[in-house]
Amino acid sequence: MAPTKKMGIKQKYAHLTRGLDWETTYEKMDDVFPYDKFEGIKITDWSKWEDPFRLTMDSYWKFQAEKERKLYAVIDAFAQNNGQTNISDARYVNVLKLFLTGISPEEYQAHRGFAFTGRHLRGVGPRVACQQQSLDELRHFQTQCHTISHFNKFFNGLSEFRTMHDRVFYLSVPKSFFDDARTAGPFEFMIAIGFAFEYVLTNLLFVPFMSGAAYNGDMSTVTFGFSAQSDESRHMTLGIEVIKFLLEQHPDNLPIVQEWVDKWFWRGFRLLGLVSMMMDYMLPKKVMSWKEAWEIYFVEAGGSLFKDLERYGLKMPKYHEQATEACEHISHQLYGLLYQLSHVTGLHAWMPDDEHMDWLSEKYPNTFDKYYRPRFELWKQQEAEGKRFYYNGLLQLCHTCQLPMTFTEPDDPTTTCFRESEYEGQHYHFCSDGCKDIFDREPEKYISSWLPIQQIFQGNCGGPTIPDVLAYYMFGPNDGGEYVGSEDNKLWESWKNATTKEAAE
């Protein structure tokens, strides 16, 4: 037989994946796939699944190997050239601290979660995509760990990131988010991480943040970031395919999916609040404000997406208007939180200088001067008097998102938002309508939240005193607190002085 014509990519991919699975007969299909029915999602025909990217394993290995060769070449060069001395300022390293302690362990959680859906969804198409995503997520954890490893050799606050992630109070925000997704059924996990997080929200995490890394001279981080983002593009197409597939399969799926979209949008929005303060306050050289990023990536891109999904009856996530309105506030509120709690974190904080404050006024003309500059001025004054402001106690957490109850009423930035529910005779407190709704929908699940402040009072965090708790968190003596005068600050000054002397000669 003569060699036949090369097959097109769609056809080739179909042959190499579809049909690999089979209807089992020696064991019941429901025993082989025990988890994909209890959520109430109805799938009538898995073959209707449209494969988003059609990567066979050979192409996957080829492209990913090439990306990795490039990435590790940059990481090696960065270390050899002591690239850490070329960043804009050592304050920037706090961005990496927040990232490594708060985000990288969640990449790992996503890896295990997609292994779960990659095994337990009944259709072969989504399973293959999930498995590749599982591998990608492991990649992201590992490349982040390897990149930031070099910074760990010189700067504090990175060394115990893994233990910190399991124990530290503010890190229960990302941890509880991913624990929530991991413990949800396979379809909810796909909507939570595949759709809400990957499609709707991660651009906000990676693109402006990584551009920020580039702008601040951190070439190794920008390389892992953008390299990871190229995998994210595959993940995004998986996320959008999942939601379209579920909505097309059966009309009964719509209300279930809508509830998940509402829930995970709000949880994601709260989690990404940490990114907002990173962008507006922690990057010494700024690329764009959180508000601008939200406009581009949620209002504009998310708007297009949800307009597209309207044809299935899916609505914009509940409280999206509140989220957009809150963009005027959350970065300032959360940076204020970090500033006054930095002594009990693994991060440094500092007061923005005048130039930075003017940038904030310009980016947030409606709110910054009116509400937030005055409190920074008080703190600056206290700092000048030698009484740097710290919050000297434990505080109230939202039972759902686990952030301190710091957010304000949607129409009144001078009033803290308190919401409450009663369940089986007990009070539960929430920072927002969104978080209250999430609890009220599944109180049986959220009553077991490992809330860090509650756990301290119950005696489960190393002991009753603050030093006991900080030891349990494995914080070193120089990990947190005010940046000015810190070890990181002194090291940076010593490098800069050496460079300056060198230039002067």
């Binding site: 042959h15 690999l20 082989v32 996957y60 060769r69 001395t85 050799k153 992630h165 399991d166």
Partner: protein
């Protein structure tokens, strides 16, 4: 100018992360494998019980009967992390491509008799489903297992089995003139042909196995060690003049088998050596799954090669391997 640069202090404060240092015996430079693997999975303070399996936390050592004081004892001798894994596979795949090009250029499969082509389609191509079942098992071990040292290589293995399922599928397409008809026929054989039913039953039995380490033993010593070994190495006579191109096109599988065994065998050895109880449990699993694999293989080799003794040969070989890992068989 170069004089002053020496005054910059580049002496590292520490050489690796704290959790890695505690494992490698102090603060010293750690390998990328170590930093990518050791203590990576969360271990405590989980928030909610899984809605889909509330009797366990999502990371829970209770999902197997064997007990390890530390699930970071079974390390990967290949020291694979994502980058080294993918680069290794991309390299292996280059020879796959060369081999396919060679076989296509020389029309080595195209010129076979229709009878032999049909024989291969029925006798070999259904192996793609064995790999797919194995892919499901290794994904399951990754999701259900405990500790990154164990679970990360399981996911690599899942990628490998998918890759191998696709290589077998490509062989099928070479045989059916790139129409896909051969793949359909092969699937029909997998579902209905007597030759494959023992193997299919074995694979389906593993798909409902809940104990992640028993599943590991069943996969490694049963499916990989007996079934796949025999399919790729034990049927040369049956394939006749196709045996050379088939061994070329399944070179990846043979290379993979040797390489993967360095890790999977070492893992079984270490877990069994942990305690007398573990040894007894793992030995019993190994005996059981090798026996079941032998039974399953017998019908297959009898039908395809007209020789049911091939099954015993491969099962016995695996029993020797199991003993060499410290198991009592």
């Amino acid at each position: 100018m170069t004089v002053e640069i020496k005054t910059m202090d580049f002496e590292p404060k520490r050489h690796t992360f704290g959790h890695v240092a505690r494992r490698i015996g102090g603060d010293k430079p750690a390998s990328r494998y170590q930093e990518a693997t050791l203590d990576v999975q969360a271990t405590e303070n989980f928030h909610y019980r899984p809605l889909w399996e509330p009797e366990f936390w999502h990371y829970d050592t209770g999902k197997t009967k064997v007990v390890m004081e530390d699930w970071y004892k079974p390390l990967d001798p290949r020291q694979y992390y994502y980058a080294t894994y993918n680069i290794a596979r991309a390299n292996m795949n280059q020879s796959v491509e060369r081999n396919f090009t060679f076989v296509e250029d020389k029309n080595l499969l195209g010129k076979l008799s229709d009878e032999l082509k049909q024989k291969l389609i029925i006798g070999l191509i259904p192996a793609r489903h064995v790999h797919w079942g194995s892919n499901m098992n290794t994904s399951e071990m990754c999701q259900r297992g405990y500790g990154t040292a164990f679970t990360a290589p399981c996911m690599f293995s899942a990628g490998d089995h998918l890759g191998m399922a696709q290589i077998v599928s490509r062989i099928g397409l070479e045989l059916d003139g790139q129409t896909g008809n051969g793949l359909d026929k092969a699937k029909d054989a997998w579902m209905n042909d007597k030759a494959w039913q023992g193997i299919r039953k074995l694979v389906e039995n593993t798909l409902v196995q809940r104990d992640f380490f028993e599943l590991f033993v069943a996969q490694v010593l049963g499916i990989n060690g007996v079934i796949l070994e025999a399919i790729y190495n034990g049927l040369d006579d049956a394939w006749g003049e196709a045996s050379l191109p088939i061994s070329m096109l399944s070179e990846f599988m043979n290379d993979w088998q040797k390489e993967e065994a360095r890790w999977s065998h070492s893992t079984i050895k270490i877990v069994a050596a942990e305690s007398a109880e573990n040894k007894a449990i793992v030995s019993a699993w190994a005996s059981d799954w090798i026996n079941r694999a032998e039974d399953a293989l017998r019908t297959y080799t009898a039908a395809i090669a007209g020789d049911e003794n091939i099954a015993k040969t491969y099962a016995d070989k695996e029993r020797v391997t199991a003993k060499s890992l410290g198991l009592e068989i």
